[in-house]
Symmetry: D3
Subunit: 160 residues, 6 copies
Amino acid sequence: MRIGIYPGTFDPITNGHIDIILRSTMIFDQVVVAVTTNQNKSPLFTVEERIEMIRASLKSLDHIEIESFDELLVNYALRKKASALIRGLRATSDFEYEFQMALMNSKLCKDLITVFLMPNEKYTYLNSTIVKEVARLGGSVECFVSHFVNEKLKVKFNLT
Amino acid sequence: MRIGIYPGTFDPITNGHIDIILRSTMIFDQVVVAVTTNQNKSPLFTVEERIEMIRASLKSLDHIEIESFDELLVNYALRKKASALIRGLRATSDFEYEFQMALMNSKLCKDLITVFLMPNEKYTYLNSTIVKEVARLGGSVECFVSHFVNEKLKVKFNLT
Amino acid sequence: MRIGIYPGTFDPITNGHIDIILRSTMIFDQVVVAVTTNQNKSPLFTVEERIEMIRASLKSLDHIEIESFDELLVNYALRKKASALIRGLRATSDFEYEFQMALMNSKLCKDLITVFLMPNEKYTYLNSTIVKEVARLGGSVECFVSHFVNEKLKVKFNLT
Amino acid sequence: MRIGIYPGTFDPITNGHIDIILRSTMIFDQVVVAVTTNQNKSPLFTVEERIEMIRASLKSLDHIEIESFDELLVNYALRKKASALIRGLRATSDFEYEFQMALMNSKLCKDLITVFLMPNEKYTYLNSTIVKEVARLGGSVECFVSHFVNEKLKVKFNLT
Amino acid sequence: MRIGIYPGTFDPITNGHIDIILRSTMIFDQVVVAVTTNQNKSPLFTVEERIEMIRASLKSLDHIEIESFDELLVNYALRKKASALIRGLRATSDFEYEFQMALMNSKLCKDLITVFLMPNEKYTYLNSTIVKEVARLGGSVECFVSHFVNEKLKVKFNLT
Amino acid sequence: MRIGIYPGTFDPITNGHIDIILRSTMIFDQVVVAVTTNQNKSPLFTVEERIEMIRASLKSLDHIEIESFDELLVNYALRKKASALIRGLRATSDFEYEFQMALMNSKLCKDLITVFLMPNEKYTYLNSTIVKEVARLGGSVECFVSHFVNEKLKVKFNLT
């Protein structure tokens, strides 16, 4: 069984992330959505909230596992018996950073490869930071995130 | 069975290509190395020579199929029942072009995703053009290509 | 009256070009679509064909002028009393080249500024070369170009 | 009347910003220099100081309006009846971010286009952060900012 | 005597930095490794610790001087009678920033040129931030930094 | 004695090239301007003309040697006892290519390092191709090349 790990902060999960997860299930037998606890990024949502939003945003959870992790990514991947890391690519700046991480991870663990997937072009501009900024200022983000996440953002920013 | 197609000119196949093929077999049940006939690029080697060099450069052909194609890539992929295209990524300039091709292909065929793999960092500088240029001027390319390809290049450039 | 010049090869005009032309008419009183004769690029279509396709692809020609030019772009722009050059931007590789051209043109003519517009994200992957390649191999390009251009491409490649 | 909005932090305004404002007045009937209140960037100068420096740095205020805003940029632009956002472009890293913002804004408001202008090549290296860093260490920034801003920086860093 | 200055935070020095220092000694008669005090980056190690780690990581200190500086880089370079600044280049994102700094520095001091060196491809993925992140999570960084730095990192993160 | 080799096509030499040569003489005891014979690029000027233009464009030839070469660059560099290759950097697209070449050359010859220099920002937009294009269309290139090269271009394009 081929397992792919899709790590990220998911603060919150966007339609771009969902697109990558769906594409991943076409390649891997099992996809692990791995939420970093990510203390030094001071996320808007707690790990529990982020996991809840991921679960609620996916129509089906077949072949998908969602959990948090707080260790070196390659160690976590080894422990999960994953054959690959999954990363979404949007634009050049993404690519540079992802390239660096992929090289580092392959250095730390030779047998772990990184698979890059490109989301639908509708999502090339999307990221969680921009979604939070728009939501904070009262803009509508309903076509960027699931209904569940949209409601959670409104509550967080006292916009209801 | 998950089939991935790795298209390219392979004029000639380098150690970077081989690295991508091996990584692909860790993800897919079957990897099709698809050689474009590529008339307007006026390749150094014929399609037959290029296929011969690919075959000779791979230690094992388990789960690997090598053939040429002369049609729209997405049509070819559909006909082969492939679930994904495989592309190697080296540097930013690569990425831009690959990004464009991947978006175009997903537009032409919605169900066909593109999977990007990154070769070992030893090969980030390698491409067929630079190998041919070095070989043409009599430089040694034996650590960039297989022994078989190295010999073929020497013959092609009358260096033996 | 503010005149903007949108220079290009338009071999052939795509929906991305049309999008830029429409955006330009929201900024300028008059938009000149200026077709370069472009001998050293050996275009697929003649200048006359390319102009015909531009004309046929635009729903309205209000505030739009289409003509060819065969001189230094800045001289042409001065002669047309243009206040700006218009360029479409897609991805980074575009940007580098466009940056260089804009700096060169501003050096050749201080009062001529370059205005960059970004097409709808649906068109970020589109360019004339890729359209011709897909059409040549018999792929459908009807959602990338106007109906008129689509027919012209079929005739050119003997696909009807 | 065509109105263009040039949003930014302007902490403080540099000669590069001034160059973009002047170019904008060649394209638009009215240019609104819109200062973001920008709390989470913790600017060196208050909004009032930043507006004062912009006003003092421009030789003429014909067709120019300067004000602050604290809402979603596209909403502000709609309220100002602007037909375009104006952004300066310097280098690739700029471009990626600006590209993403422009796509997001066009998604939030279809009729609002983004116009990119390139400053004189003298200013391609200039940004407010680097100016503040140089000024803080006692370096001369008099050829990067107006006389007024130069004096303000000296006062801020107790260098007089 | 030609003096080159290699400025940086070195928090901590990696094998990539060491590679650049060694290459620099092949070009310059004297190489000054200049550690920025860098208060606003809140480094993990003190200036003294960072200097100690640089000294311990270099096999030979011939033609090499290590010191800290807390002033405008170009002023420091003038005071050291340096003929060039030395910077390592890894990837595009590096390049953009370095380009900007080099232009700014040449503006502040015309006679001071910037020399860019590229580390061995083994180190293109390496930077101090990633090393600290891996070390913090208990990953092995012994092939990225010297033995001395490796030990210091373990102590810092209470991993011994 | 430290020898640096500055290889290129120089078809023709521009003020940007001259700037790099002058900067190189501040770092190296001897700078070899090495003109590639470059058959497959079909240059506008012969090697002899290109060398003549380089010689005529430099005010002083102290510490500068000009010659052509037709062999593998690293072999040529070894034969000249050079300690480094010199390359000018302008923009990102340059960088990607140069990065690749530098890695390849360091692979072919471990002891040969590549030194990158950045021209004055006035020349960041300049390259020989754009100069030839402007000159061919009758535009003035007198501020981009030396007087001697300007005259040669006029003769070549029958503009006198």
